[in-house]
């Protein structure tokens, strides 16, 4: 091959790099390893994590230990979906494009909004991207967010906002839902958008319609971050006056993966279609009249519109969106609702069961779908450690994000957590609190 090129060594091909910026030594990385050793090394690391197969986990806070059907792995693992890139050549990318179209349809059904893109990176950055759209659409810069919006989303709003000089005003929660009066007060003529979360971070179901009214009045966009699983039973944001619905897609067909990759979804009203970020697949026909799909409205995108693009996103999370779509198809119209109802009922059971535990108090009484918050009468981190020692991941400590709930704990239920798991949790939690308060526990009764 060197002959064909007309050089005598591979090094010669690197002559174009000026001497001064050449590394001139080997990379200081370990030598390559055979597959079996790489496997052992990574398997060794993996074993040092307390994962949801090794403990009974009640962690949620935006990502949930749902059962991912085996079907999803089988489909997502097919080379034909796993290894191509963005469908730039639609004639040989109809598989991926059709998946996008189906996915958009599903997300549109879930959110009740007519337009969906084919996925964003994940939840919080999708929230921040909604702000970018709103600022562009309204020409305003003030953002108002309920403190019920995921702390990561609120922080992302601030991070992204730095570039376009936004101000973020946060509105408190009252008994587990957004303080409607304070929200109304915060919204003014400079407000580009209002951010709500459904259910909110503490699990409470919000009255989106009521909360959004003032924003509508003031010409601000209503952005709702939603848990897609909760949309199985909750009124879709599109029916409640939302302009944009975004969210973290992980609960749909994606593993926990310590936080990613998953996908974000982004839906909006027709009005915003040409301001949408990301890929959008559209239906069309080929020269012979066959039905087909293409990437459409590409003039929104960076590769065509460059500095005038609606967003900079390029590589997104297509495979994760496929996983979500397959999961939804597997659940189906009825199974999806049944799942939502199952979660509501088991969560209600857990909420009541835990409230009976000595040292546990409900943090709020708002209706919830699959997650609720309690306050512990003991240092939460100690309680977590004690529960972990008993094989239970007790939940998400609220202290860091909500200093007002120093010993708050957010508890999530999925279909993988049985009533028996919940009962055992209640016992373990009770003991853990008692022990953490220094009170002695009767030996043997513990578990």
């Amino acid at each position: 091959m060197l002959d064909a090129i007309g050089v005598s060594s591979i090094d010669e091909l690197f002559d174009v790099i000026p001497e001064a910026v050449r590394l001139g030594r080997s990379l200081e990385l370990p030598d390559g390893k055979p597959e079996t050793e790489v496997y052992d090394r990574l398997s060794g690391l993996a074993q040092r994590n307390a994962h949801a197969e090794a403990e009974t986990s009640f962690l949620g806070a935006g990502m949930y230990d749902h059962y991912v059907p085996a079907l999803v792995d089988a489909i997502v693992g097919r080379s034909e979906f796993l290894t191509p890139y963005t469908p730039y050549q639609p004639e040989i990318s109809q598989g991926g494009l059709q998946v996008m179209f189906e996915f958009q349809t599903a997300m549109s059904e879930l959110t009740g909004l007519p337009v969906s893109n084919a996925a964003m990176y994940e939840g919080p950055s999708a929230v921040a991207s909604a702000a970018y759209l709103a600022i562009g659409a309204t020409g305003r810069k003030k953002l108002v967010a309920s403190r019920g919006v995921h702390p990561h989303s609120r922080e992302s709003l601030v991070t992204y906002g730095a570039g376009y000089g936004t101000e973020l005003v946060e509105v408190p929660l009252v008994d587990g839902v957004t303080d409607a009066a304070a929200l109304a007060e915060a919204i003014d003529d400079d407000t580009a958008a209002v951010f709500l979360q459904q259910p909110n971070f503490l699990g409470g179901v919000e009255n989106i319609e009521a909360l959004g009214a003032k924003a509508k009045e003031k010409g601000a966009l209503v952005v709702v971050a939603c848990d897609p699983i909760a949309l199985s039973i909750l009124r879709p944001p599109g029916e409640c006056g939302a302009d944009i619905a975004v969210g973290e897609g992980q609960p749909l067909g994606n593993r926990l993966d310590y936080g990613g990759p998953s996908f974000g979804f982004f839906c909006a009203t027709e009005e915003q279609i040409r301001r949408m970020p990301g890929r959008i697949a559209g239906e069309t026909t080929d020269v012979d009249g066959r039905r087909g799909f293409v990437l459409t409205l590409q003039t929104r995108e960076q590769h065509i519109r460059r500095e005038k693009a609606t967003h900079n996103i390029c590589t997104a999370q297509a495979l994760n969106a496929l996983a979500g779509m397959v999961h939804l198809a597997w659940l189906g119209k009825r199974g999806f609702v049944e799942l939502g109802e199952l979660l509501v009922r088991r969560t209600a059971y857990a909420r009541e069961r835990l409230a009976q535990v000595d040292g546990v108090e409900s943090l709020h009484d708002a209706p919830v779908v699959r997650e609720f918050a309690v306050s512990l009468d003991a240092p939460v981190s100690e309680v977590l450690d004690r529960c972990a020692a008993e094989g239970i991941g007790a939940g998400y400590p609220l202290g860091r994000d909500y200093p007002e709930h120093e010993n708050g704990l957010l508890i999530a239920i999925t279909e993988r957590r049985s009533p028996q798991d919940i009962d055992r949790f209640a016992e373990v939690l009770g003991n853990a609190i008692a022990e953490s308060r220094g009170a002695p526990v009767a030996q043997g009764v513990a578990l």
């Binding site: 091909l13 790099i17 004639e91 992302s156 509501v344």
Partner: protein, 509 residues
């Protein structure tokens, strides 16, 4: 040949199978999933959540049994061309082989079922892996600090400009402009706008590099940053990189390295050593994360000491062993100067697992060899092409020696044969190959951007050169063949104009 394709058949089997969506396969009452019994009292939902907040009508998801779901997606999967089927020389995208080992280790329950909010002390394996990946990328990039948080290249770019802004604000500066060469990838200017800056375009010189005079003229007090890809999107290494760095640094700007082309130089040259302050790395390019039909990927960033305080939160840190024990790992949230979060939790961890497995598999020498082979393959393919009709009709746009990719100009083909770059690309589909990136970079007329990567064989490169040659020879004879191509794909050329004019972006149900 007797009876080719049968008496009545004018379409391939794939073409005959028209697209049917999963919604169209739905039949009321069918289902795949069975859900557990709640095991608790079956209270009416309205008792638990006010009816006014509940859905009136279920979402119209498909009703379909498992066998038909499998068939549906398996069938439509075959309407994709993929890297595991054939050559995919999509320039700038580094379509290298995706080792299946990486999928296996990413799927281990210790990774796949680890909750992102697990307490760090109970996620030591994950944090150590992230730390090790940070260390590896730091060494590869020649910059001491790494944040793995960004989810893709463009996310890293945004991080880079926000870091620049925070850094300069901290120094009391308020700069407004970001320089990008005219060869820049679309994400660069798009990011500039998103980060609240203004784009200033830099001209290229006759060698495809930055025009230094233009740079000198435009770099100044208002320059926040120069974003650069090196080798650039022409596949050319900018030999003036030191000079460029010193001009920008003297003007007080930062230098941002778009790492999309890192696959050309691993183990040979490092952005940090070139003078870059911030770098993003596309793990889905150089580090073998499968492209997934458009993601997931990850775009970790590396940076110098002066930028470090501003890195996104949280940061993975290692605590040196006390009294001789094992080191421990933690998430550091206490970073007062941080630009904050760019997303939820800790980033695309599953991608980190795959890429770290890749780095472990290849090792330092293996990565260097990968770059060498990538560059060898590109140069070989260019030489092969140049020998044939491509030398005449789609010559290389710039004469300098390319690195891991090169850009041809289809302008002569358009002029002399009447076939555009698009036609060549579409005709390649009939040859069972994915076309190169087309019409990018914008600088080159009728551009064809070819990146073969190191995991392709010589036979494949030869076959590609032959296919291009055959297409051009055929066009000399009859350009209409290419102009109407493709013929054998599941669908033929699609009406994108109609799709844009009246967008149908979901199925009416």
């Amino acid at each position: 040949m007797s009876n080719p394709l049968g008496p009545e058949i004018t379409e391939t089997p794939m073409q005959r199978d028209r697209a049917v969506t999963i919604y169209e396969r739905s039949v009321e009452g069918r289902r795949a999933a069975t859900l557990p019994e709640s095991g608790v009292e079956e209270r009416p939902i309205e008792e638990l959540i006010p009816k006014s907040l509940l859905r009136v009508k279920a979402a119209e998801l498909p009703e379909i049994a498992e066998p038909e779901i499998v068939r549906h997606y398996n069938r439509i999967s075959r309407r994709n061309f993929d890297l595991d089927t054939g050559f995919y020389p999509l320039g700038s995208c580094t379509m290298k082989h995706n080792p299946r080992l990486n999928e296996r280790v990413a799927a281990l329950p210790g990774h796949a079922r680890l909750h992102p909010a697990q307490e760090p002390k109970r996620a030591q394996g994950a944090l150590e892996l992230m730390w090790l990946l940070q260390q590896s990328l730091s060494e590869i990039c020649g910059l001491p600090h790494v944040s793995l948080q960004p989810s893709a290249g463009s996310h890293g770019e945004l991080a880079g400009l926000l870091l620049t802004r925070a850094y300069q604000a901290h120094r009391g500066e308020s700069r407004t402009k970001v320089l990008t060469p005219d060869t820049a990838h679309g994400t660069n200017p798009a990011t500039v706008t998103m980060a609240g800056y203004e784009v200033v375009k830099l001209a290229s010189n006759e060698k495809g590099g930055i025009d230094l005079d233009d740079l000198r003229a435009k770099a100044g007090d208002d320059t926040a940053c120069l974003m650069l890809t090196n080798p650039n999107t022409l596949g050319l290494f900018d030999e003036n990189i030191e000079e460029i760095a010193s001009i920008v640094h003297e003007a007080g700007g930062t230098l941002y390295y778009d790492g999309a082309n890192l696959n050309a130089i691993m183990g040979h040259s490092r952005p940090g050593d070139m003078g870059f302050d911030i770098v993003h790395v596309n793990l889905h390019k150089s580090f073998s994360q499968p492209h997934g039909g458009g993601g997931p990927g990850a775009g970790p960033i590396a940076c110098s000491d002066r930028i470090e305080p501003f890195l996104p939160r949280p940061q993975v840190v290692r605590s040196e062993p006390q009294n001789g024990g094992e080191p421990s790992f933690d998430l550091d949230f206490d970073r007062p100067k941080s630009i904050g979060r760019l997303r939820g939790f800790q980033g695309n961890f599953g991608v980190f697992v795959r890429s770290y497995a890749y780095i472990l598999s290849l090792g330092g020498d293996g990565l260097q060899e990968a770059s060498e082979t990538a560059v060898l393959n590109a140069n070989y393919l260019l030489a092969k092409l140049s020998e044939g009709k491509a030398g005449k009709y789609t010559p290389v746009a710039f004469q300098n020696r390319p690195m891991h990719e090169f850009v041809l100009s289809g302008a002569p083909a358009k002029k002399e044969l009447g076939i555009k770059t698009l036609d060549i690309a579409k005709r390649l589909l009939d040859h069972g190959m994915h076309p190169p990136t087309v019409y990018f970079p914008l600088l080159v007329d009728e551009a064809l951007m070819v990146e073969p990567t190191e995991t392709e064989t010589r036979e494949t490169l030869d076959a590609f050169a032959e296919a291009i040659d055959a297409i051009l020879v055929e066009a000399e004879d009859d350009p209409a063949v290419a102009q109407q191509a493709p013929y054998t794909t599941p669908v033929r050329r699609l009406d994108e104009v109609a799709a844009n004019r009246k967008p149908v972006v979901r199925q009416p149900l």
